[in-house]
């Protein structure tokens, strides 16, 4: 047997005999099981729930009897975002943000200023998703298993016997690294199985597993490298735990808090107040006589060569409602775009911190590939807003063309007019059903690529640290 492989096999025997392997596998298996169960349940529930809710919401909306079009504008309609298949592994920002948006007239609802989204902290220890387990807990397990790999030999003097065997210091490091890498590969198998069951043999799923492989291999090499360079096992453990704490706990917090301080995003209340204030300065689209629409009214009268709004071939109320909605959209878009930009800037700042913390790099890679990153969420909001606007304006145009102004103003006092101002449900049944198309594979891969490269740098540095380690305690 090749000596490097022999060293690796011997390390496995040591783990078996010292019960280190048993302890580590018990811990990791139970954590993986717990996370798998929790995620599987949650995703199954959510998937069914969202599909069901979407259908129910659509049925209720489309089954409304003949109604006044502006009632339907206020009646509103829910759209849902079905989690992408890989959200099973990494729910990303989905954990914090609403997956449903209520579409109605005059408002961009909560998903825009999501009360649940708590800034760039995304994914610390909030839940035990498989992503969190692989990003935070598996490295800890690898440290527990590997911290003594080479330091132990040095401590007990067996390193001299190994070197004299002869076994090169590099070969010894490689063998120990191989042993730990094999353990990491074993732990990756459940992830591979989960990904295959979620996406089949698809490139995104395979790339995701590769990314995690690279990340864990980085930890493997770091662990054995520190072990090779430490005087004693306890030194190695202390150094590795400090690095883990910095990389997995402290740096992500600092990055998130730093981003919040340097690039503050207004709170929901602040944002809502600002929008409400700006909206009050616009005219009331429900009141065709509002002075704000004086010009519109005058133009319309001139255009159709009539003196009174009653004589217009279109319903002035519908026209005003459409114009008001357009004005409101402009104001609201201004706010939501600025907000999205601020969130994006925060995310960007955190992304740059990935240089310091491989955890942030794998998190960026993982959410990019799973389609659960901020970019994906913003696209959902943008597309939902487009759908909202189109739905409201379609109804406003129906309001303008299919209803007469005379009937419209006498609706509450005249039963006949009330009947005539109802339009058939066909008018909103024909509204396109909203479906968010998932991000294309190319998009997700290109967003994930920079993170992948960072992970490769992490691995290269950790490897360099190992192969340049001087042999043994002989100085």
């Amino acid at each position: 047997m090749n000596p490097v492989i022999r060293v690796a096999a011997e390390e496995w025997r040591y783990w078996r005999r010292s019960r280190l392997g048993l302890a580590a596998s018990l811990v990791i298996v139970s954590v993986l099981l717990a996370s798998a169960l929790a995620t599987w349940r949650q995703v199954a529930i959510e998937r069914n729930q969202r599909a069901e809710l979407q259908t129910t919401a659509e049925n209720i909306f489309y089954d409304q009897p003949a109604r006044h079009p502006h009632r339907m504008v206020h009646y509103g309609h829910y759209v849902f975002r079905t989690p992408p298949p890989l959200a099973l592994i990494d729910p990303g920002v989905d954990e914090y943000t609403g997956a449903a948006v209520f579409l109605e007239g005059h408002r961009q609802n909560s998903a825009t200023f999501s009360p649940a989204y708590s800034g760039p902290h995304g994914g610390s220890f909030v839940s035990l998703s498989p992503a969190t387990v692989y990003q935070v807990l598996v490295p800890l397990m690898l440290i527990a298993l590997g911290f003594s790999a080479l330091a132990r030999e040095r401590e007990r003097g067996s390193d001299l016997l190994l070197l004299a065997a002869p076994m090169s210091a590099r070969g010894l490091w490689l063998g120990k690294t191989l042993a730990l890498a094999a353990a990491a590969a074993l732990v990756l198998l459940p992830l591979l199985a989960a990904v295959l069951s979620a996406t089949g043999f698809a490139l995104d799923g395979i790339a995701l597993v590769l990314g995690y492989g690279l990340y864990l291999l980085g930890w493997v090499c770091l662990t054995t490298s520190v072990s090779a360079r430490s005087r004693s096992s306890s030194n190695a453990l202390a150094v590795l735990l400090s690095v883990w704490l910095a990389v997995c706990v402290v740096l992500p917090r600092i990055a998130a808090s730093g981003a919040e301080v340097l690039l503050p995003v207004p709170s929901k209340i602040e944002a809502d107040l600002a929008v409400a204030k700006a909206m009050r300065e616009l005219g009331d689209g429900h009141n065709a006589a509002d002075p704000a629409f004086e010009q519109l009214r005058a133009n319309l009268l001139v255009q159709h060569g009539v003196d009174r709004v009653e004589d217009l071939p279109v319903n002035i109320r519908g026209v005003v409602a459409e114009a008001a909605e357009a004005e409101q959209k402009q104001v609201m878009d201004g706010f939501s775009e600025a907000y999205a930009q601020q969130e994006q800037a925060q995310a960007e700042a955190v992304r740059w911190s990935s240089f310091l913390s491989p955890l942030l790099a794998i998190r960026g890679f993982s959410t990019s590939l799973a389609g659960t990153d901020l970019a994906h969420r913003h696209r959902f909001l943008v597309e939902a807003e487009q759908a909202r606007y189109q739905f409201v304006q379609d109804l406003n145009r129906i309001h303008a063309s299919d209803l007469t102004y005379t009937d419209d103003i006498r609706r509450s006092s005249d039963a006949g007019a009330e009947q005539r101002t109802r339009v058939s449900p066909d008018n909103w049944r024909s509204l396109a059903k909203f479906r968010l198309t998932p991000d294309s594979l190319a998009d997700r891969l290109s967003r994930g690529m920079p993170f992948f490269l960072l992970l490769a740098v992490f691995l290269a540095l950790a490897t360099g640290l190992g192969i340049t380690a001087r042999p043994a305690g002989v100085r």
Partner: protein, 241 residues
Amino acid sequence: MSQQQVLEAQSLTVQRGGRPVLHDVSFAVGEGEVFALLGGNGAGKSTTLLTFLGLIEPHQGRAMAFGQDVQGNEDAIRRKAAYLPETASLYAHLNAWENVSYFLELARSPRPRDELSQAFDEVGLPADARDRRLESYSKGMRQKVAIALALLRSVPLLLLDEPTSGLDPVAIDEFNALITALAERGSTVMMVTHDVYGACQVARRVGLLRRGELVGTFEAPPEGMIDADELHRAFARSHAS
């Protein structure tokens, strides 16, 4: 340098931890010779062995083995040398078979079980102990496994650091007989020891090391042995001065 010199220290000067440990040490060990290095604690005996294995780099001078400079030829020399470390550093979680097999496999010279068994017989490791993990061994039993490993390497050079430490008198006698037999078959042995009388029994030549300097060499007369009492006096004198 002559062709039959297996080991040669040429004005060897070594520092460890920034302090001088060996100073201008020169000696040579010929093929089939048993050479013992005698000296007090901290004299630099183990350091000398480690230097010949290429595990420590000399500051000045050269350590030569098989006519080659050790530096730059570490791997080739380690393949031809068996090393017995000062502290029995075999694995406590493995039994005797497993320990010896592992290191032999790393040396790419695996041995069949009956050869292992024979080596254990030679060093006097009780048969009923061989399947037990070394954590249950006494110091001397561990030393016997380490010696067996060195023998099993079947290489032309043995570098032994205090091989008899922990061995009972009977085992020491058996060990000395073993070394003598090996040398007669052409193996070269360099051993480090505190044991003046043991050294005289096996070694044809004894070097006396004192604080990093070789202060004397004693050679056995033809067909005779080094006078242990004389050596002991020299050792005591060198210590006193």
